[in-house]
């Protein structure tokens, strides 16, 4: 029964993924986010079929066990672009490093100012990085993986809808700087938008996305101790 349920959970998630992806491919609208749309489809199916969330957990952990090797795989695009990486090293390291610091510190301050509960604040901290890193930060340091993924998607959607116009408005024209900002501020969704601007912007955004994830994971223990009240 348990095996049957696990198989059903995986099949359901795969179906939701392909449906959400097909819709996104057809309309290409940033609000048609594959993660949120897919998760909503799964949640609605579970509710309609009266399957308790607990029964979905074995399937969930089986699927998410592939997230580790996928994260390690991010070394491949980094390695493929190693020359670009060393040619623009100062701009990349400073842009991604300070951008990441700004993201974590500012959201922690704003959240403290808004008097949000600790669990919500912890889930907000990795909002600018791609989900595999955000999930690991939350797993190690507290917070909710579901909330963290929702905040990551919200940040990515916001950045991909308004990010390009914002950068133009504040005078960032350099294509490499634009790509770095989109990847640092809005991870994979920002990267997708950066690729629409051009190959150079997109590649830079992809590199920034991975490096911002690394930086956030490395700094999280220190920043949480400094910024979040116990």
């Amino acid at each position: 029964m348990r095996i049957l349920m696990t198989g059903f959970g995986i099949g359901l998630t795969l179906g939701a993924y392909f449906l959400a992806k097909t819709l996104y491919m057809r309309y290409r609208h940033p609000l048609l986010n594959v993660v949120l749309l897919g998760a909503t489809l799964v949640a609605v199916a579970l509710l309609l079929l009266k399957i308790p969330y607990q029964a979905y957990l074995p399937a969930r952990s089986l699927m998410m066990s592939l997230l580790g090797p996928a994260t390690v795989g991010l070394a491949v695009p980094l390695y493929r672009n190693r020359e670009l990486l060393s040619r623009h090293a100062p701009a990349i390291l400073a842009g991604v490093g300070l951008g990441t610091l700004t993201s974590v510190v500012s959201v922690a301050w704003l959240a403290a100012f808004a008097a949000l509960p600790r669990e919500v604040v912890l889930s907000l901290l990795p909002k600018s990085v791609t989900i595999p890193f955000a999930l690991e930060v939350v797993r190690l340091h507290g917070g909710s993986q579901a909330l963290a993924s929702a905040f990551v998607v919200a940040t990515g959607t916001l950045g991909s809808v308004f990010g390009g116009a914002l950068l133009t408005r504040v005078g960032v024209q350099d294509p490499i700087a634009r790509g770095l900002a989109m990847g640092t501020g809005s991870h994979g969704q920002g990267t997708a938008m950066a690729f629409l601007e051009g190959q150079e912007q997109g590649t830079m955004a992809g590199l920034a996305m991975t490096l911002a994830g690394l930086t956030t994971t490395l700094l999280a223990p220190l920043l949480i101790r400094l910024l979040v009240r116990a």
């Binding site: 579970l46 842009g95 490395l218």
Partner: protein, 123 residues
């Protein structure tokens, strides 16, 4: 069929790096996830020639192409968190929007400034 087996074997090799990263973090006591340490290890192994790109690239490309799929199960749990959005929705939106705005401006300007400083003759 052969290609499927190849992708599976390469994902196995990537998982070995997750495990190595996890062991490293456990032995050193560093509060880092195994997958992230494994990413750094794999990059170093590629740079040093210890691992060839051909050993892992099909597995890695397959997983990265479908990366979003693995996020869906994590987000399904949102069905249990509706109350948080109901109670704090407005404050959450302000915190996320404000911080995202600042992040874009800071990282965009810092990298543009450094690009102009280091390559004055290019543009």
């Amino acid at each position: 069929m052969l290609r499927v087996l190849k992708v599976i074997a390469q994902i196995g090799l990537l998982s070995l790096f997750v495990w190595l990263g996890g062991r490293f973090a456990a032995l050193t006591g560093l509060p880092l996830p195994g997958s992230v340490v494994g990413l750094v290890f794999l990059y170093l192994a590629l740079r040093s020639g210890l691992v060839k790109l051909a050993f892992i690239q099909e597995g890695a490309d397959f997983l990265l192409r479908h990366l979003v799929f693995f996020f869906i199960p994590a987000a399904v749990d949102l069905m249990n968190w509706g109350g948080v959005f109901y109670r704090y929705g407005f404050r959450l939106a302000l915190a996320i929007a404000g911080s995202t705005f600042l992040t874009f401006v800071v990282s965009g300007h810092v990298s543009q400034w450094l690009r102009r400083r280091h390559q004055p003759c290019e543009s």
